[in-house]
Symmetry: C2
Subunit: 504 residues, 2 copies
Amino acid sequence: MPKLIDITELILRDAHQSLMATRMAMEDMIPACADLDQAGFWSVECWGGATFDSCIRFLNEDPWERLRTFRKLMPNTKLQMLLRGQNLLGYRHYEDTVVDRFVEKAAENGMDVFRVFDALNDIRNLRRSIAAVRRTGKHTQGTICYTVSPLHTTGDFVEMAEKLMDLGCDSICIKDMAALLKPQAAHDIVKGIKESCGQDVRVHVHVHATTGVTMVSLMKAIEAGADCVDTAISSLSLGPGHNPTESLVEMLEGTGYTTRVDKAKLVKLKRYFNTIRPRYQEFLSNITGVETEIFDSQIPGGMLSNMESQLKQQKAGDRMEEVLLEVPKVRADAGFPPLVTPSSQIVGTQAVFNVMMGRYKVLTGEFADLMLGYYGETIGPRNPQVIELAAKQTGKSPIRDRPADYLKPEWQELRSTALALKGCNGSDEDVLTSAMFPQVAAKFFLTREQGPKNLGKDPHAAPAPVAAAPAPAVADTGKGPVRTTIIYDIKLNGNTHQVTVSPA
Amino acid sequence: MPKLIDITELILRDAHQSLMATRMAMEDMIPACADLDQAGFWSVECWGGATFDSCIRFLNEDPWERLRTFRKLMPNTKLQMLLRGQNLLGYRHYEDTVVDRFVEKAAENGMDVFRVFDALNDIRNLRRSIAAVRRTGKHTQGTICYTVSPLHTTGDFVEMAEKLMDLGCDSICIKDMAALLKPQAAHDIVKGIKESCGQDVRVHVHVHATTGVTMVSLMKAIEAGADCVDTAISSLSLGPGHNPTESLVEMLEGTGYTTRVDKAKLVKLKRYFNTIRPRYQEFLSNITGVETEIFDSQIPGGMLSNMESQLKQQKAGDRMEEVLLEVPKVRADAGFPPLVTPSSQIVGTQAVFNVMMGRYKVLTGEFADLMLGYYGETIGPRNPQVIELAAKQTGKSPIRDRPADYLKPEWQELRSTALALKGCNGSDEDVLTSAMFPQVAAKFFLTREQGPKNLGKDPHAAPAPVAAAPAPAVADTGKGPVRTTIIYDIKLNGNTHQVTVSPA
């Protein structure tokens, strides 16, 4: 009997986060839910920081309502979320009782599996949220952020797995957000965890496809004993996204492993999302191939594009090369944190600052906090000279304790803030929404009543922007795909003319 | 010491054949040759039927001159070609002395490695060309076309390898043109060949990337003992193309295998071909993701698009579903040939005919020949009723002997035909060009003097055709990529105005 390999389907969260800037509207997910529910996945990942943020920032959707709808439409499948440990879905540490409250509410609204990670792999930042999930009786997945540095060894990752199991996790996830996990490393870490924590400890493997090697890493992880792998329906896979679910299923044919998914459902889902993808053309990642230079630079794709846009804002787009050389230095000074939200942004932005203004002439508040220990401990020692600069610039002292120990109870204050916002419905869920993204939530509460905004567009109505061509204003004549009209604002002899160009 | 795995780089032949309709001009290949030569590849595939055809049909290039240029520019690397056995580079069987002559001339002009295959895996169709290559002292690679059918077993492929080795081949290639080779099958076939033919028999593995599983197949083939794998520089990889060379190299890190390629050269090559790819926008495959439905239909992508265009020409684009159901029936009636040029076209076209005119109401000449044995033997028995129809329709008798045995010496006639063509230079090379593609060669000889025609276009000068947008007339100001100016002919109040739009 071949061993059954479970699959976590990513299409409702990380797939569209990685490939279409997290813009997929609930309206476009709903028609797929029945098939997703019946396809035989171990879980469907459908919630996390970026999707929550995007809901209220761009889509005028209540993320809690989205969760409840998933629950209703997928009664037979475990719903899974990604939780940033003590950061919850935000970018700062929350005080412990807020962590408790958030987890309770997520569970109450329908969440089944909590994948909990910390950007620095600091176990102290995970303790409270893991305990909170355990209290709800839901599945607690402790997460190891995989990274590559001169310091990280297989042994370190295995040791972290042991600590997570000691905290009572139900499973371990190896999370490779930058597609750096090569086959042999995948094999060795999974094998190490199984040998050290027990063969019956569930190991899940999450990889991105960016570098073109991680499908093989999934195979080697499976051979080493991995129980569940993360993939995405092929129509929203590859590039900075994930390996295709259908390929994973086919890959195992004839091996000692198999899956329990329904291939006919996968075909239906693929075809459905093939119709959805072009609706988000303007948000689609323009990377469709592989990128292996990241193995040397260790700079994830998302971080690259962030730094690029920062440089362009400073009209210094030509200094990217210098920034790329600066990143490893900044990362080394910071004690080699994994590069994942928010550490990737913090390190990247500081590298940009160093190039633009001189090395450590100006520290961002976040980078100073990172140096001073306010995000937690790093695997390597941090550069004492930069710590000193950070202390001097901020007037804060370096800390070694768990960062959240320094926070005062804040639920009441968060609650008052939220209740004072126009449109807040007074629920704990609204308070948590406001706590995660204060400014964005304030605006969202004001517009919530207008209902969801689907940013997807009929692909025939919106021509893709052409390289170096002016961005046209588009007027849909409403007469179907071939009748699009483009309106250009064109300057002739100093006067602006609006010119309408219709196809012949 | 890790075992050294060799790489055959495909970018100059199969990569652009699969991804940009074989249109890459020699002019765009030349700047890459020095790096390709020094990158450490076992061989560089650079010649074959489609590239030869494309040279004279579209690019006004002499394919023999292309070969000699490669030889000059890549003195340190083995040049490799794909040869269709008794079909050489054409679509029919050639008489034995023509086969000999072609191979001699290819070797003389610089070819080092001949990968010889037959679409039906009929060893008799390979014997003469293999013997011809052996006489030149060049590397003879006997090829097994991998396919999936109710009849094909691992044992069949291993047995074919044995026969190829008995003919004196220097190595065996498993050629998976449709990306159907799954990891376990790859492993089992390589292992079988090594066990049966000897561990020192070189096994090469050629796969396409279409289904998203074959990078794993390469890994399992390597673990089973494969000596060389085929990949393409990442900027022209994936989709219906191949797995990326850079990813293959990275994938092996830490395993018991390594490569001897120079990673810095790969980066240079990637960046170079990244600048070439957009020049061929209009020819680019629009498939960038994976497609796994082919595992069930077993219809390669190229065959699909062929059938689609045939149906559209018949204004029957809506009958594709019926054709897809018909293909497996036609293939079964034909004794389960692998679906590769030319058998894929022959089976596909007959399936279209069956749907449009009733099953076997009309047979194409090629399908009749296939049924009557004029292409060789198939693994399974062919449907006697259809054989009878074929005999009746064509007046030919079924044969069981080697098809080329029925051919009369034809070199003198081919030579006379060629020499009568205006512009023919009288060389054996020209005779062979004319023998391969008579009509196309005749036209090519007439225009050869005008020199190569590069179909690549400055991507900034030629906006990709946007859905439903008007195609603008374009004027390149020659001041580099960001200065392109677009001139629109626009009708206002009945008068045509030329409006020049420049980027801000």
